[in-house]
């Protein structure tokens, strides 16, 4: 589904990703772990198409297409979803209106009929149950005045509604207490399917107790320096990121 090869990305003149390669197939859950400043958020942003991320080398192929030449909205239409580390507050834009606009824009992009407000509300009610979100949040402006946990749950709720093929969760666990973390994880697990892939970016192993990954990668110094199964996350938790640096002379030399 997704093939990243030797990706180099500059942000504000600084090279953040330095030869990252990663292959993700449908149905898989990949966890990307790493210390602060390793380039974890850069990966999510560059996949979603944010401005200001300059790809200087390498390629990203998604479903056989060059993902990097698509606009953010086209990527969304193709099924790429980024759950933001810091969801943006948009005063004056009603959450429900926003979600319907987004869903219908994606459906239009794919040549599917748009949903009318009745069909849309029916869908929303179904998804609300899964996410345990109060429908009061739907009547407010997008993320405005939401608590940290509400914002993150709203991201997962959007994901449930938009049903992406590739979901990238950028530190969705940060700032969440254990109950909110469980809720978010349940929402994600409910969406796991053989057709859908996840890239779960996180600093802590804790989230992976609830979203059990198929693969764990350690991102350090802009590259993946170690890959393994879920036990790798436990080793990291035990030994810390310094342990990876010790095992990876290249990363150490650059650090």
């Amino acid at each position: 589904m997704l093939k990243i090869e030797n990706l180099h990305v500059r942000v504000a003149g600084r090279e953040i990703l330095r030869g990252l390669s990663l292959e993700v197939n449908a149905g898989e859950v990949h966890a990307i772990m790493g210390p602060n400043g390793a380039g974890k958020s850069t990966l999510g942003n560059v996949l979603a198409g944010r401005d200001g991320y300059e790809v200087t080398k390498g390629s990203v192929t998604y479903d056989g297409r060059n993902l990097l030449e698509l606009d953010p909205e086209q990527r969304a239409g193709e099924g790429v979803f980024l759950a933001f580390q810091y969801p943006v507050e948009i005063p004056g834009v009603n959450n429900t209106y926003f979600l319907r606009t987004a869903l219908n824009a994606q459906r239009k992009y794919r040549g599917e009929p748009e949903l009318d407000s009745m069909q849309f509300l029916k869908l929303v009610r179904e998804k609300l149950k899964v996410m345990q979100i109060s429908d009061e949040l739907l009547h407010r402006a997008v993320n405005e005045g939401f608590s940290g946990g509400e914002k993150k749950r709203n991201e997962i709720f959007q994901m449930a509604l938009l049903e992406p093929k590739l979901a990238i969760l950028d530190e969705t666990d940060s700032g969440l207490d254990i109950d909110a973390l469980k809720q978010v994880a349940e929402g994600v697990n409910a969406l796991r399917s053989p057709e859908r892939a996840f890239i779960v970016v996180t600093h802590y192993q804790r989230l992976l107790d609830y979203i059990v990954p198929d693969f764990v990668h350690v991102l350090a110094d802009g590259r993946i320096v170690e890959s393994g199964d879920k036990t790798l996350a436990l080793k990291l938790e035990e030994h810390g990121y310094a342990w990876v640096a010790e095992r990876s002379p290249v990363a150490e030399a650059r650090a």
């Binding site: 198409g49 606009d71 909205e73 606009t101 402006a141």
Partner: protein
């Protein structure tokens, strides 16, 4: 040497047959106003602060014919002024001329007097003397002087003390295509007696491409405890030139609320002067201007707090796209002795294109003690983070821009109590927003 604009107006005045002519004080006032206008001409490019951001040089070269001889025969579709939530008495002016056939003045609610200025002058001019004799002598008052000299009609509206007029009164000014470029001058006098209540809608509409010059001068008097809700929808013809000036005077505990949406016109000036004379008077204003193409829309708000414990909250939003220019000048004066005033002024603006320009100038002049006053003004662009967020959810760039722009303005219109009208104004605004694709050059 006078400019073509001024000369054409003066020439036309000599031939004009204005209602009420022969009334000595009115003739004198008109004559004197014309002399003042002719002597001063249009405000010069420099030196008059009130006109600092709006050049009248192109206007100065234009000649307009005075009045529309065929106004009574112009076909105008009622769709031009239909507004949801506005179904009360209606007065329609086409190219400045009153059209009884298009108006709805039958069965006025109890306590409401509403008639054209021309008829009011024919019936009993004396009660209008105070307003129509006023001389505008400040530099920059050219259009008020011109209006005083040449106003051929308008609305005279009175609400009796204690009367509550529930259904909104609709004053419609329609520009209709004509054989020449026309000038019209309309004068409105609106008086709310003690404890009277009125909802009023001032509506500028277009019935086709009409590059006319419109000049509206309106006086509002609110006696003690009167309440006025005023909504202004300016959706005039794209080529129209429109100068409007409202003068409000509020007695003790009177309350006025203005909601304004400025969309149309090529060159537009909207002045609102309010004097909070009585203790506890309150004047809140909410407004949005949205301009594009080469539109120039200038809003000037001037509020003077004179009584004690007066209040005023002004919240304005401006957006300019393409090569348009928006101007907002907001001045709040708290006079000596106006203790306890609570005055707020906020103006935020959004530039949607690198060639667009918005000038905002908030001014506070405080001459009293124990005053709460604040002002703030910003000019910025759409937030890149918000744009990316919307796009990452699949909303195309152009739609994302419109959505954010609309959201930016909503705070100023949402508080209009007439919900169907508020929704309609929102829809008018949304319909105007730039839906531009990446391919279109800015």
């Amino acid at each position: 040497m006078s400019s073509p604009f001024v000369q054409a107006m003066v020439d036309a005045a000599a031939l004009a047959r204005l209602p009420g002519s022969g009334i000595a004080w009115l003739d004198a006032a008109r004559r004197e106003s014309l002399v003042a206008f002719a002597a001063a001409g249009l405000p010069p490019p420099r030196g008059v602060e009130a006109w600092r951001y709006t050049s009248l040089r192109p206007l100065e070269q234009r000649r307009f014919a005075l009045g529309d001889a065929h106004a009574a025969a112009r076909a105008v579709d009622a769709a031009a002024w239909a507004l949801p939530g506005v179904d009360g008495p209606r007065m329609v002016f086409v190219n400045g001329a009153f059209r009884a056939d298009l108006s709805a003045l039958d069965a006025l609610p109890a306590g409401l007097t509403l008639l054209p200025l021309s008829r009011a002058l024919a019936e009993d001019a004396e009660p209008l003397r105070f307003f129509l004799s006023r001389m505008y002598r400040a530099r920059g008052d050219a259009f008020a002087s011109l209006n005083s000299a040449l106003a051929a009609d308008g609305a005279v509206l009175r609400v009796a003390p204690g009367a509550r007029v529930a259904a909104p009164v609709h004053l419609v000014f329609v520009g209709a295509p004509a054989e020449a470029e026309l000038a019209w001058h309309a004068r409105c006098l609106i008086e709310l007696g003690e404890g009277a209540e009125l909802e009023l809608v001032e509506h500028h509409a277009a019935a086709g491409a009409a590059p006319h010059f419109g000049n509206l001068l309106a006086d509002y008097v609110l006696r003690e405890r009167a309440r006025l809700g005023l909504a202004v929808l300016q959706d005039g013809a794209a080529a129209a030139t429109l100068f409007r000036r409202a003068e409000l005077r509020l007695d003790a505990a009177a309350t006025a609320t203005l909601h304004a949406l400025e969309l149309g016109g090529a060159l537009v000036r909207h002045e609102v002067h309010a004097s909070l004379d009585g203790d506890g008077a309150r004047f809140d204003t909410r407004g949005v201007f949205a301009v594009r193409g080469r539109q120039h829309v200038d809003t000037r708000l001037h509020v003077e707090h004179r009584g004690r414990d007066t209040a005023g909250d002004a919240l304005w939003r401006g957006i300019a796209d393409e090569r348009a220019r928006g101007v907002f000048q907001g001045t709040i004066v708290v006079a000596r002795g106006a203790d306890g005033a609570d005055a707020r002024l906020g103006n935020k603006n959004l530039l949607l294109s690198p060639q667009a320009e918005i000038d905002t100038k908030p001014v506070l002049e405080i001459h009293a003690d124990e005053v709460k006053a604040s002002h703030g003004a910003t000019v910025g662009q759409l937030d890149e983070r918000s744009l990316f967020y919307l796009r990452s959810r699949g909303v195309p760039l152009a739609a994302a821009r419109s959505l954010l722009t609309y959201a930016f303005c909503r705070a100023a219109l949402d508080s209009l109590p007439n919900a169907p009208l508020a929704e309609h104004l929102g829809a008018c605004l949304l319909a105007r927003l730039p839906i531009r694709s990446e391919e279109t050059p800015p």
